[in-house]
Assembly symmetry: C2
Homo-oligomer: 332 residues x 2
């Protein structure tokens, strides 16, 4: 199967599969080798064989720990940095906080004042220093700049960073080691770091595997960018899949153009239904962003008789605000 | 370590470890060999090494499928029965429905009219015939008797049945195969079928392992019976641990007297906190009854430097009514 081969728009070169192999050597002793699970009930519903790479069981609860560990390791390769910093209200914040704490490096995390208490607590538990700011992109970036000036910390971008991308790609590498002959692999798209790394690894290890990105219909910037060949920023962030509200960067867009076959979208109700199905039938906790590719397998793709890999990106949830409760009784 | 050796009050002989081994040979091809999981965050909190035998991943979502499969298999050993029947609003109903369906035997389940929709749907999905009745013990038993008279089905009691007890005991057998030198094993107690089988297996396989039963403080009939030597029926069923609202039978009480070392109780808030901790940190769904022994490990026992096994009994939850939501915003 031929992947699309468009010219890169990024000034940073696209990482290679060799880069992912090197990343894996470095982070392998520090990450969880997460299980690949399957479920008869899921297979009955999908009509095919679905293999879930369960990054919800990863340290800090999401695949983000792979990239963060790699980025911190690389920063340490030329001496211990004074600190690392990022802005995030989500899984990247927790991952950077934990990866830094393991190496006794100070972590400075800028978080919006309205970030969920559960995520603030998790970052704090990992010993990071938190600076709160207003909940706008501008305020986040400005505050981060101030923190960096004050502390001398080095910025770790959540996805526009080759070391992050190659770290995330090790999730697909492990999945293909365990299930090498997948017909397709489904991966959620937010900023595109996960799918970029996974697509590079899959192109090299299993070129016959169709690489499909999935995103919420209401935040379909990647789909639009992919189909038009022009990078579109995300217009709406009104999706339950809180990890997928970000725009692609030039680097991740280039990776996607070169190594991804198709991008699909799913609607909000499909995401919520898929998430609940997995909770009820598989008894594992996945966050809404992880349910996005599951929803595609259930509603958008012919998986009959197919062998399908899905990256379950994470399991960090505010258990006080489950989407079905928020929908049905308005207490969210 | 010496187990208590009191005289049995039951007219039915206590099953032996050989009976459990025979049960295991029969059911092994039909059940899931559930994983034994551990978590650094749990171990940090407990100060010891906790090993969870995850029967929430068992078929039909609970350990009950072990006993039900064994009981149905035994009933079939002298010809295919016309049907099987039970009354239950919980995991035993689902387990019997599925075990019968696998053998194409009709299952007749009597359920109270107020049983949660999610459990009624699960029983129906397994193809069982449901008869609704009033939500009293009398109505259940009377309706079951009528169903049995009409259909000729054979009754499978949820715990007062040696084949059920030996089936449930295979959970401890598998746990000890994987983790043979446990200092203690914690098991929830409702009707006592699970702990009876587990205690018999553990006495034989690992006599140095202390067998501890745990139940909700507000439904402490087993603790009271154990400490006084006289069978006390449960007085209150007002516990979040919906699987543990039943009384011991003479048979399970005898097993417990002979093979269990200690029975502890935990309060409702401890159960809810332990359940939430496991959901948030381990990303697996356990039902309140499963959180009862976890709560004991966190609050009632010195687990420092100890190797502790816990049977996670099941993961069947009504996701519309989580105990922390019911508590905090009154929407339950």
């Amino acid at each position: 199967m031929n992947k699309k081969r468009k010219r890169s728009v990024s000034s940073v070169p696209i990482p290679s599969f060799t880069d992912i192999q090197h990343a894996y050597q470095k982070i392998s002793p520090h990450i969880h080798h997460t299980p690949v699970l399957s479920s008869q009930k899921v297979n009955d519903r999908a009509g095919g064989a679905i293999f879930f790479k369960c990054e919800n069981f990863q340290k800090a609860g999401a695949f983000k720990y792979r990239g963060a560990t790699h980025a911190v390791t690389e920063l340490c390769s030329s001496g211990t940095p004074q600190g690392v910093a990022t802005h995030s209200s989500g899984n990247h914040a927790q991952a950077v906080a934990l990866a830094a704490s393991v190496r006794n490096i100070p972590a400075h995390i800028v978080m919006p004042g309205n970030a969920p208490r559960v995520k603030v607590n998790a970052v704090r538990e990992y010993g990071a220093d938190i600076t709160f700011c207003e909940a706008t992109q501008d305020a986040r970036e400005k505050t981060l700049e101030e923190v960096i000036q004050q502390t001398g910390a080095l910025f770790i971008h959540p996805y526009d960073n080759p070391h992050i991308i190659t770290g995330q790609g090790t999730a697909a590498l492990e999945l293909l080691q365990e299930q090498p002959d997948l017909d397709m692999m489904l991966v959620p798209i937010g900023g595109g770091g996960l799918i970029s790394g996974c697509a590079i690894a899959t192109s090299a290890l299993s070129p016959g595997t169709k690489m499909i990105g999935v995103e919420p219909k209401v935040a379909n910037d990647a789909c639009l960018s992919f189909n038009t060949g022009t990078l579109h920023p995300v217009q709406s962030t009104d999706t339950v899949a809180d990890g997928l509200r970000t725009s692609l960067s030039e680097l991740t867009f280039s990776c996607i153009q070169q190594h991804v076959n198709e991008i699909l979208t799913v609607n909000e109700q499909e995401i919520i239904n898929a998430m609940r199905f997995i909770w009820e039938r598989m008894k594992i906790i996945i966050e809404p962003s992880s349910a996005v590719p599951v929803a595609a397998a259930f509603n958008r793709i012919d998986t009959e008789q197919k062998k399908v890999g899905i990256i379950i990106s994470g399991g960090n949830m505010d258990l006080d605000h489950l989407p079905w409760n928020d929908n049905t009784n308005g207490t969210g």
